[in-house]
């Protein structure tokens, strides 16, 4: 259970990225967050694992305050939250397996990670994560040699290797072409349904949001402007979220055919 209580984030430049947000996300939900860029989607997601510190209010994950946690405590919270990034954030010069093993760092003693000797059990977990996203045959290939879609699957495997309760995905398909986008979204959906991992995804494209979001949260100017099921979210709702009429750029299929 993720619980935002009057959470606010103001960046040093004076930008209010989150304004007094109150929101609850129960375990096991598949939530899609939509909004224009700059609406606060990324900040919202990063507030959950403390990558962006709050400047007001609180966020708790399973009752533990992320805002108040420091050091080892914060790392323990983070270890149960996997994250997937728009630009994959892989270490391109090293192997796929080493990238996925990054997800096991929280359970690995420092000296072991320094010499690069992970426990066999952790390697097994990483291999299974790769099998789940169907890319295990690439385990010893350098990440740089993979296509964008494959790299994002490695990113998902890295998150899975954490054996998380929650997965955060920040624009996971923004760098991918439409068929690959659907593949990655289906992977996330499967993970949510089969493993019961709470999954929170930032998306720009409305059609993807409607197809994959059990629940849709609309953000505008740092505030929550819509919270409801994907089925209810029609064009008017999106128009409201975006504060303007929709364009072809807002829909994946249309954007792809242009």
């Amino acid at each position: 259970m993720i619980d935002f209580k009057n959470a606010s984030v103001t960046y040093p430049g004076g930008v209010h990225a989150l304004r007094d947000l109150t929101l609850q996300i129960p375990d096991g939900e598949m939530v899609v967050i939509v909004g224009l860029s700059g609406a606060g989607k990324s900040t919202l997601i990063r507030a959950i694992n403390g990558l962006v510190p709050l400047t007001g209010g609180d966020v708790t994950v399973d009752g533990k305050s992320v805002a108040k946690a420091r050091g080892g405590e914060l790392r323990r919270i983070r270890s149960r939250i996997g994250m997937i990034f728009q630009t994959f954030n892989l270490v391109k010069r090293t192997t796929v397996l080493n990238n996925v093993l990054m997800g096991r760092l929280h359970a690995t003693p420092t000296w072991r990670s320094l010499v690069g000797r992970y426990r066999p059990g952790d390697v097994e977990i990483a291999m299974r994560a790769l099998e789940r996203v169907g890319i295990v045959e690439k385990a010893y290939v350098r990440a740089a040699n993979l296509s964008g879609g494959q790299q994002q699957r490695v990113g998902i495997a890295r998150a899975l290797a954490q054996e998380p309760k929650i997965i955060l995905a920040d624009e996971p398909v923004a760098s991918l072409d439409p068929p690959t986008s659907h593949m990655v979204m289906r992977d996330l959906q499967r993970i949510n349904r089969e493993l019961g991992i709470t999954t929170i995804v930032n998306l720009h494209f409305l059609d993807l949001a409607k197809v994959y979001g059990d629940r849709i949260i609309g953000m505008r100017d740092g505030q929550l402007v819509y919270d409801g099921s994907g089925a209810q979210a029609d064009e008017n709702v999106f128009r409201d979220i975006y504060g303007r009429s929709l364009t072809a750029d807002d829909v994946l299929e249309a954007a792809a055919t242009r």
Binding site: G82, H106, S113
Partner: protein, 270 residues
């Protein structure tokens, strides 16, 4: 033509005045040069006299350019010592430089204080020439390769930490965010998200420094810090310039060999 009825062409722009820096810069340049060259304030450079005396150097240079290959056997122990010194200094210097570089990069330093202290120390280390370190260590340890090794270690530390910390400044920060999000501690983040990105550069810098160390050995020996330079100094003292020429040639070949080795090693690594 004086016909005023014609449409006046657009006024031509005036030539922009030269920037102040131009004339002032040139004046400053000339002034400094005069000051430095003059015999009154400066070093008293008289090119005419030098041209006149050129033949004094000719004999020596002619000998240097006619190296005595028979000298080879006697250079072996000193050459080995040079190589040993270079290897030890490179290994230790690069070893210390690795953590120093991580502390000197904005990306990986734990806080601004550590960053500033580390950079300050490195800047001071680099402000002094390696030969001065050699002199200091000779004074502290007496003559021998140990003083040379210590001087080279400091020199290497300054070079590698600087080069590497700047490489670290430029790494892709995405993986760092990913590691932090996965709950990794700082050291783990550096090891898994940063170190693999800079490893090829680190190896390249280390090989580069190995080569610099071998080049430096000529001059280290001049102050008694061991290696082939000691032999060089001796031969200069005896006026055996054909032997001097051979030593220089030998060093040149050694450096070239190391360059070839480093190319092949780096190909394998990158």
């Amino acid at each position: 033509m004086t016909s005023a009825s014609l449409a006046r062409p657009a006024e031509r722009p005036r030539k922009p005045p030269r920037s102040l820096l131009g004339p002032a810069g040139i004046a400053a340049f000339l002034l400094i040069t005069y000051w430095a060259v003059s015999s009154e304030f400066g070093i008293g450079l008289d090119l005419g006299a030098i041209v006149k005396d050129l033949d004094r150097g000719q004999v020596i240079l002619a000998d240097v350019l006619r190296p005595d290959f028979g000298f080879f056997e006697r250079t072996i122990p000193a050459m080995l010592e040079t190589i040993q010194m270079a290897i030890i200094a490179t290994a230790i210097g690069c070893g210390i430089a690795l953590p120093a570089a991580f502390l000197a990069s904005r990306v990986t330093a734990p806080n601004a204080f550590v960053l500033r202290v580390d950079r300050g120390v490195l800047n001071v280390i680099r402000a002094l020439p390696d030969l001065l370190y050699a002199m200091i260590f000779v004074a502290a340890l007496s003559i021998g390769p140990l003083a040379g090794i210590m001087a080279l270690i400091l020199f290497n530390l300054g070079v590698i930490a600087k080069l590497l910390s700047e490489t670290i400044d430029g790494v892709d920060t995405g993986p760092i965010e990913a590691a932090r999000a996965a709950g990794a501690a700082r050291v783990q983040t550096i090891r898994t998200a940063v170190y693999p990105q800079v490893l090829p550069n680190y190896v390249a810098f280390s090989l580069y420094v190995l080569e610099l160390n071998i080049r430096a050995s000529t001059v280290l020996g001049l102050v008694g810090a061991g290696g082939i330079g000691r032999l060089l100094n001796l031969q200069i003292g005896f006026g055996n310039y054909d032997n001097v020429g051979f030593i220089i040639l030998e060093l040149f070949l050694l450096v070239f060999a190391i360059e070839l080795l480093s190319i092949s090693l780096r190909r394998r690594l990158v």
